[in-house]
Amino acid sequence: MDNNNTQDRRSFIKTCLKVLPAATLIPFLSIDAKAFAEEGYNPEDHNYAMGIDVHKCIGCGRCVRACKNENNVPDEPFYFRTWIERYIIPFEGETIVDSPDGGINGFGDAAVPEDAMMRTFFVPKICNHCAKPPCVQVCPVGATFTSRDGVVLVDNDYCIGCRYCIQACPYGARYLNPYTRTVDKCTFCYHRITKGLLPACVEACPTQARVFGEITDKSTPISYFRRFNEIQVLKPALNTEPKVFYAHLDGEVR
């Protein structure tokens, strides 16, 4: 009997120890993505990802423009939710990278004459919506968070503008919106995808260099993309587990 009592007490304390940390999380759980989503939409049923085929990108910049228009990203060339980089690997010397105005107007002549180029290609960049996002980890108030459908979002009404997340993002995907004075970034066009639409950049791409969809469902474009391409992610050594998957990515890309 006595033994039972000790056992009970022990398991009670154990339960308390388990529940306490969970209880501290309640305030953060209450900030969820429902505010953005359509009625009847259940975020638990989804897990989004993007695929980018480097071979298909022609550097036209339509994705950058579509994104700026769709998401009220400031026009000035210091704020981008998505941008395109041009890589030129010459036969001799160092790789040259540029992204004039984020590539929104396409790319002009290269600094290297064509016969000196060994290889050249365009790489669209975007928030990687990491499964282990360092930005979410460091946010002191929980204003940036991972939604239940796997999208990394920022709560505009809650961000204090400390910009620790900007420092923590290895990909340069975040900026401080000068008008709202809060941190801003790609949302995978959350207001569109929760209505079953595609992100603006995916829809605007004339060569289908970007594909988007559910990774858990085997019959989606992103699942085909992952099945039939050799996949790379950016900066894998940092263990952020990006959910933007690249096909035909060059080792020079950082």
Binding site: P21, T24, L25, P27, F28, E76, P77, F78, Y79, F80, W83, E85, I96, V97, D98, S99, D101, G102, K125, P134, Q137, V138, C139, P140, V141, G142, A143, Y158, C159, I160, G161, C162, R163, Y164, I166, Q167, A168, C169, P170, Y171, G172, A173, R174, Y175, L176, P178, Y179, R181, T182, L238, R254
Partner: protein, 398 residues
């Protein structure tokens, strides 16, 4: 807004190599440079106080109370640069109401409060309690009321009560040492744990921060002690200055060794980032790293302090060398903070380019605000020592 865009356009024009388009704006400015500088001074000054208290270093007795009050004056200001730097300062309280327990920065608020309330204020109060009661009895009017409030209702000055104050105070100091280590080691962790940034990401960062904090705090107290004596036309206790400068020299050597270890380690491992980091210290950080941090802030004061230990030098000359070392070390520590905070943002995370940071004079990003914040603790200290005189003769008169 136009001004911001002009500045960013200028930054892009002066950037070399490739930077990500969102990297035109440098986000943690000079306000974030002075934040670790000030907290470092606090931790260092407190550790000096505990040397006397816990380890019974008798020579340092004249600096004990002064160090506590200096630590308090700087600690009261320590969060100001952080708060002012927020893009939404009115939301700053969220860090206390809904902290993200995973965030290094969120926990800083609690470490700070713990240190302020549980360690520093309590220790100062216990140490001054008897004097406060006496001052309350001796003074009149508003002044009496002020001291009466400060007594928090305690009146007991029996030997037993004073004995208890001492014992409890010592316990607080013992708790205080790891707390001071925590306070500043923690600031180092805020930077050292950012894996996206190869200039910051280092396990040594909290330790380097800690020892540079002790160095800066000791140097500050050397200056505060000498200046306070000069203002009050009192003689410096030379054995106190000698002891203080000895500790300063030892800590400077440890701090320099740690910095050197970090530097050599990076060079030897020569990781992916070494190319851009070499460019960084060879160009943008050349003056602040090699000239200010290394030469002015470390090697020259090291030479001065070593001289005073090896060669027989007269009191006046020694005082000059100590004072000069104190000033130079402050310049050096400020450069360390600059090199960490600003240096860590001057290269692109693409590791392909360098960006620029131009300080302005006015406005939230200007130079005047941080200077005002840096001077404020000195004025606070002047007021605090008026209210709670830490001088030996004030103690003797009781």
């Amino acid at each position: 807004m136009e001004h911001l865009f002009e500045r960013l356009t200028d930054a892009i024009q002066h950037a070399t190599g490739y930077i990500y388009p969102n990297e035109a704006e440098l986000h943690w400015n000079i306000l974030i440079v002075i934040y670790p500088y000030i907290t470092g001074l606090v931790a260092g000054a407190f550790i000096l106080a505990s040397l006397e208290r816990v380890f019974n270093v008798k020579e340092l007795q004249p600096t004990y109370r002064l160090s506590l009050l200096t630590a308090l004056s700087f600690l009261l200001i320590a969060v100001v640069p952080l708060q002012v730097h927020l893009a939404h300062p009115e939301r700053g309280y969220e860090m206390f109401t809904t902290p993200n327990p995973q965030s290094a920065m969120a926990m800083f608020g609690f470490v700070y409060l713990w240190y302020l309330m549980a360690v520093l204020l309590l220790e100062i109060w216990l140490d001054f309690r008897k004097d406060i009661i006496q001052w309350a009895n001796e003074s009149k009017g508003l002044k009496r009321l002020f001291y009466l409030v400060l007594t928090l209702g305690s009146k007991d000055v029996s030997e037993k009560a004073i004995e208890f104050d001492h014992k409890f105070g010592k316990l607080i100091t013992i708790i205080g040492i790891p707390s001071a280590f925590l306070l500043h080691g923690y600031v180092g962790f805020i930077f050292g744990s950012v894996k996206a940034n190869p200039w910051w990401s280092s396990v040594l960062m909290p330790i380097v921060f800690l020892f540079s904090a002790i160095v800066s705090g000791l140097a500050l107290m050397l200056l505060v002690y000498m200046v306070s004596n000069w203002v009050r036309r009192k003689q410096n206790a030379m054995d106190c200055l000698d002891k203080l400068s000895s500790y300063l020299l030892y800590m400077l050597i440890i701090d320099f060794s740690l910095e050197a270890l970090d530097f050599v380690h990076r060079l030897y491992e020569s990781e992916e980032s070494i190319h851009i980091l070499s460019q960084l210290i060879g160009s943008k950080l050349f003056t602040s790293f090699f000239v200010l941090q290394l030469l002015v802030g470390t090697l020259i004061p090291f030479t001065f302090l070593t001289l005073t230990k090896l060669v027989r030098i007269g009191d006046t000359a020694r005082k000059v060398l100590y004072f000069a070392s104190g000033i130079l070390i402050q310049i050096g520590i400020m450069s360390i903070r600059w090199n960490v905070v600003i240096g860590g943002q001057l290269f692109s995370k693409s590791l392909r380019g360098l960006t620029v940071y131009k300080i302005e004079l006015f406005g939230m990003d200007g130079l005047f605000l941080p200077i005002a914040i840096l001077i404020a603790p000195i004025f606070i200290l002047i007021v605090v020592v008026k209210l709670l005189p830490p001088w030996p003769e004030a103690e003797l008169s009781k």
